[in-house]
């Protein structure tokens, strides 16, 4: 079985599982909203400041909500011991990893698709001109988050305190991604929106480096 | 000498950090050696 086909099957399984419950998606969206609202209480930003803090707040909300959402990815396998079954299947570990990454990417993207318009309304941002470019930034940023997050979710699955451990491992590693995504988003929210190519390239570079590392380490990651 | 206490603190800090850590390692090392010796003796007798 090719890697792509195996990954697709894993992806379908993940989606089917989550669709039945749908609690993960709703919880993630609501949690991100809570962060946004809390920030607004705590910092009471004016219109001008919204423009400055908006991108940072948006991505921090995604990062926190995302890292909580990633836990079940492997935790579920752990409690049901289905990971052994997966391992015994004649597919490469990377295919399993890839399937989960794609599933997580879709979940998080759906959450973002709901959150970004809500955010735009709450902070009075007009996103119509920059929609396409914003989606590009969101995709690249989310990819980085999901790639790294899925790998670390596999790492944390075998440890105690995994709900606390995953954000602890993930967030410092994602610091460069956060900076790049925030700067790229900020360049789109500015008075004269112009997508910063350098940051976009940085995001793409980050994704490629970590995807490659995941591929190289996938065998060790999912071993017995 | 201006800012002497900062310079002195920094100087002390560098070696203190390594020294404190080394003390912790060394004490654990000697305790472990004892445990191992004791266990080896027990196993020889048993």
């Amino acid at each position: 079985m090719t890697t792509a086909r195996a990954a697709a099957i894993v992806l379908a399984k993940e989606l089917r599982l989550e669709f039945r419950a749908r609690e993960l998606l709703t919880t993630t969206v609501v949690f991100a909203l809570v962060i946004v609202v809390l920030f607004s209480f705590a910092f009471d930003p004016t219109a001008g400041e919204s423009r400055r803090y908006g991108p940072g707040l948006l991505w921090i909300a995604f990062l926190f909500a995302g890292s909580l959402m990633l836990n079940p990815s492997f935790a579920r396998e752990q409690s049901n011991q289905t990971l052994d079954a997966l391992r015994m299947a004649p597919v490469s570990p990377f295919a399993i990893l890839l399937g989960k990454m794609l599933a997580n990417f879709i979940f998080l993207s759906v959450a973002e698709a709901i959150l970004v318009p809500v955010f735009a309304v709450l902070y009075n941002l007009s996103l119509s001109d920059v929609a396409g470019r914003l989606i590009l930034v969101l995709v690249l940023g989310t990819l980085g988050l999901v790639i790294t997050g899925t790998v670390f979710s596999a790492v944390a699955a075998h440890a105690r305190l995994r709900e606390l451990l995953l954000p602890l491992l993930l967030l410092p590693i994602l610091a460069p991604l956060l900076i790049a995504a925030v700067e790229a988003t900020a360049s789109l929210f500015a008075e004269q929106p112009a997508l910063d190519r350098a940051w976009l390239a940085f995001l793409a570079g980050f994704d490629i480096v970590f995807l490659t590392a995941s591929w190289l380490l996938s065998d060790y990651l999912l071993e017995e | 000498m201006k800012n002497f206490h900062f310079l002195l603190s920094a100087w002390i800090a560098v070696w203190a950090v390594f020294f404190a850590y080394e003390l912790s390692v060394a004490s654990r090392l000697s305790k472990l050696s004892e445990d191992i010796e004791r266990l080896k003796r027990q196993l020889k007798q048993g």
């Binding site: 075998h158 451990l165 940051w199 | 000498m1 900062f6 920094a10 950090v17 080394e22």
Partner: protein
């Protein structure tokens, strides 16, 4: 334990000479005067940190490829030393910053990078503490360690791009741009001094891990003996 005593004396001597050189041999710096002398140990700490973390990366790869426990012992030892060196670097930096700039801290590229690095490798140690099974602990922390090491240059690059305007705090000889030759010579004493101390402590920490492993092996033997003794065949009794 003669070898050990000799090494301790050597380390003490190095520390003494380094201090002497930094205080009396090094020339006076124009703007900051005395406090600038922290630089010699500040730089030494970072050199020690980068060395330790590079060794950690090699050890992480080594474990994944060979599964020889020596690599795991080296991995945890070098990460701990990396964290210790980083701590020394951060403390000396803060104690230099307050008198020199009037502020304890600022979020500029180098400082932010180093702080994140500190957190990253502390997380490595926390991760290890939370996994019981030794093989798995070694493998998973090795994987995390590799990601952390890949991340380090990215953190630095992103910070540099982001805050290109803000002046870096260690322009003074940081990249050996126009460093006074005497200062350079003093560095040649102080940097190795910190590195040698780091390496000596690293060796001890490695030995500690090795002994832990031996103790575990012995305990396993003891358990086996214990259970074998408890399951004597019944016919022996009759």
């Amino acid at each position: 334990m003669k070898g050990r005593a000799a090494i301790t004396v050597l380390a003490a001597a190095l520390i003494f000479f380094a201090g002497y050189a930094a205080l009396f041999v090094a020339p006076d710096e124009a703007t900051m005067h005395e406090i600038q002398r922290v630089f010699y140990f500040h730089l030494g700490s970072w050199a020690a940190m980068y060395s330790a973390l590079s060794v950690a990366f090699i050890a992480n790869v080594g474990w994944l490829v060979t599964r020889n426990p020596h690599w795991d012992w080296l991995g945890v030892a070098s990460v701990e030393l990396g964290v210790v060196s980083c701590t020394a670097g951060l403390i000396t930096g803060v104690l230099w910053g307050k008198p020199a700039w009037g502020i304890w801290w600022t979020w500029d590229p180098r400082l932010t990078t180093c702080f994140i690095l500190w957190i990253l490798y502390v997380s490595y140690l926390i991760l290890r503490g939370l996994i019981e099974e030794p093989q798995r602990r070694a493998t998973l922390s090795a994987i995390f360690g590799i990601f952390a090491f890949l991340d380090a240059p990215l953190v630095y690059a992103s910070n540099r791009l982001w805050r290109g305007q803000h002046p870096s705090p260690v322009i003074l000889g940081g990249d050996n741009s126009g460093l006074d030759p005497t200062m350079g010579k003093v560095l040649l004493i102080t940097v190795p001094a910190v590195m040698v101390v780091m390496i000596l402590v690293l060796v001890d920490r490695y030995r500690l891990e090795k002994l832990r492993y031996e103790l575990e092996e012995l305990r396993l033997v003891e358990e086996e003996r214990g259970s074998a003794a408890n399951s004597m065949p019944i016919k022996e009794l009759s």
